[in-house]
Amino acid sequence: MYKLFLRSLISVLFLLGFSLNANAEFKVGFVYVGPTGDHGWTYQHHEGRNAVEALGIKTTYVESVPEGADAERVIRQLAQSGHDLIFTTSFGYMDPTNKVAKDFPNVKFEHATGYKREHSNVSTYSARFYEGRTLLGHMAGKMTKTNTIGYIASFPIPEVIRGINAMTLAAQKVNPDIKTKIVWVFTWYDPGKESEAAQALIDQGADIIMQHTDSTAPVQVAEKAGVWSFGQASDMQRFAPKSILTSIIDDWAPYYVERAIAARDGTWKQQDTWHGLKEGMVAMAPYNSAMGSNLVKEVEQLQKDLASGKVHSFTGPIYDQKGNILVAEGAVADDGMLAGMNVYVKGVEGDIPQ
């Protein structure tokens, strides 16, 4: 009897020690929607994770987690297995993240690109990708010969529409005859569909291709067809060295490092972050010298002005497709309007799928 008691006591202490030990180490978890090798969206989040790991903080990731019923289990498992801060890096994880956050008040959650912060331990973050689109529009307006820009769009959500509009407005500023043609592919990552869309746009006369999807397929098609293109999410220069003028880079590393340190030191607070060129969450890959040194200089200046706030991507007058005024002359669109943007500006062809 005594022996049994002693044995169970030891095992309880052992378990306790084990669990305390597990709690003692600060760990950060990441949930990815795609494979780490997509060279786009997930790849960049993975780079952010590497930056956190470089600080000596232990991290864990789970890749290719479907945005359906499985997401909740993965997030919960990370929370249960002693992760103190969890980044869920796709819109579709919004409800699962909030559900799990409710049951783990001591774990901090960071959800990318969503809008729900139902519990005090959930923050949201996203980047002002549209500032990068403004730079792309400027280059596209100057470089196009056919005055037609081909744009491969994923889903008709405000983020994507904002990018289309920012690009079109900037292109119109340097080239009033510009037309933006759009193909909706309804996917974030499908190299087959993306290349078909790129080819269709080129066949319709577009000599500039850009995309709000994650694979390298569009730039590769553009390279083959001999038209200009832009990389998305990561520097895709090596996939289309001749064709790419620059890439919009999502640089999550500084944010992940900052939030991981805050969570470790106990200074983490709920917030809604929307960072852009200024903070470096949106960065530009080196500009292709093929566009001429004058244009490179112009774009570099515009990049500085956007970062300093001297120039805003959405400065009035801005008109919708029917010619109604959206933003008055001299005014700039506020974040509320940007967050809910669901109309095209003048110069974009076609309708938003509804």
Partner: protein
């Protein structure tokens, strides 16, 4: 000179033991793969197959994952047993989800005990009607049901895309491709607080029981069995082939539709583009691993569900690539088909005769 001969006497017990053998071979093969990838094979297998179900939450998750697989596979067993190759269960699942989800949206903010049963029933009918398309085309126009059912998967997927992006998208959801969250009365009751296991499991168990009765105790079951063994015999016996084909597709589609509606009213709670991580295709493996037998399918669905959970756990704890889960599913099927071949056929090694040289 190698000669392959058909065996005439295959023992029944060995027939049901080969799936177990296939699983052991898979574990062994998996261990070798982990070893090559640089992991301790015993530890990796432990994280893969034991850790995920070592607590109540894990067990509940296993059942949540196995429920749709089991339902679909049971339905498929009716088709496969009678030599009807329904490859489109994924589409029937999605279509069932669409119909059930549509009804759930109609009943948005509407209380009443009758709401959930109506949704479930409409989901089953949706899947059933969708499965009747390849069945009718096969019986009356002699089309290939494999192609038709497979292509209809894309039709269902695109229809779902269209609905959640457009007319059914959440009016307060900033155009994100998803519907509203269904109201409480449209959700499967949760069986235990804090776990996700829901009443859908009872639907599955009832379906398994009914299938067993139909397959083994009714005239229809007898017809299905005979048609599977020999179409000529079935014809000679005077069975109405066309009616039976349509009925097995209807059963199969209804089961897939139930699985779809169980997912959206259970763990998901809304319609969006990813209501199924290809359950309809994985269920084909489950059906064959379970020997097209209701009890076998229950076990098979649990094992295949475990490969999903295991892949997640192994990545969390050891950073094993997540795709090993699919490798495991592939290996199970490979070893099962391989041992089946050796079970039904004898391979004879004969010496070379002089005149063949």
């Amino acid at each position: 000179m190698i000669k392959v001969e058909k065996r005439n006497d295959v023992s029944r017990s060995i027939y049901f033991l080969t799936p177990v053998l296939a699983i052991f071979l898979t574990l062994f093969g998996g261990g070798i793969i982990f070893f090559i990838l640089g992991f301790n094979p015993i530890e990796a297998l432990k994280f893969f197959f034991i850790t995920p179900i070592s607590d109540l939450y894990g067990l509940s998750e296993l059942l949540v994952k196995a429920t749709p697989l089991c339902l679909i596979a049971i339905g498929l067993s009716f088709c496969f047993k009678s030599n009807n190759w329904n490859i489109g269960a994924e589409g029937q699942l999605i279509f069932g989800g669409i119909v059930g989800g549509g009804v759930a949206l109609i009943f948005y903010n509407h209380d009443g005990f009758y709401v959930l049963p109506i949704i479930i029933l409409s989901g089953a009918i949706g899947g059933m009607l969708f499965a009747m398309i390849p069945a009718i085309l096969k019986t009356y126009f002699n089309t290939n049901e494999i192609l038709v059912s497979l292509m209809l998967v894309y039709v269902a997927k695109l229809l779902l895309d269209y609905l959640v992006v457009g007319p059914w998208s959440n009016p307060e959801g900033f155009n994100f491709p998803e519907t509203r969250q269904f109201s409480e009365s449209a959700r499967m009751p949760i069986l235990f607080d804090g776990l996700r296991i829901h009443a859908g499991i009872f639907i599955t168990l009832i379906t398994v029981f009914l299938s067993w009765i139909i397959l083994y105790k009714t005239y229809l079951g007898f017809q299905i069995k005979v048609s599977g063994l020999s179409l000529k015999t079935a014809k000679y016996a005077g069975f109405k082939g066309k009616t039976m084909i349509i009925i097995v597709f209807m059963i199969s589609g209804a089961c897939a539709g139930l699985a779809g509606v169980g997912e959206i009213t259970g763990p998901i709670g809304q319609l969006h583009r990813n209501i199924s991580p290809d359950y309809g295709f994985t269920a084909i493996i489950v059906a064959f691993l379970g020997r097209l037998n209701p009890i076998g399918i229950i076990f098979a669905s649990l094992i295949v569900a475990l490969t999903y959970l295991g892949a997640e756990t192994a990545q969390i704890f050891l950073q094993v690539p997540k795709y090993t889960g699919q490798v495991f599913q592939g290996m199970i099927l490979f070893f099962l088909l391989g041992s089946d071949y050796l079970l039904f056929f004898k391979i004879k090694f004969l010496g070379l005769k002089k005149n063949e040289l």
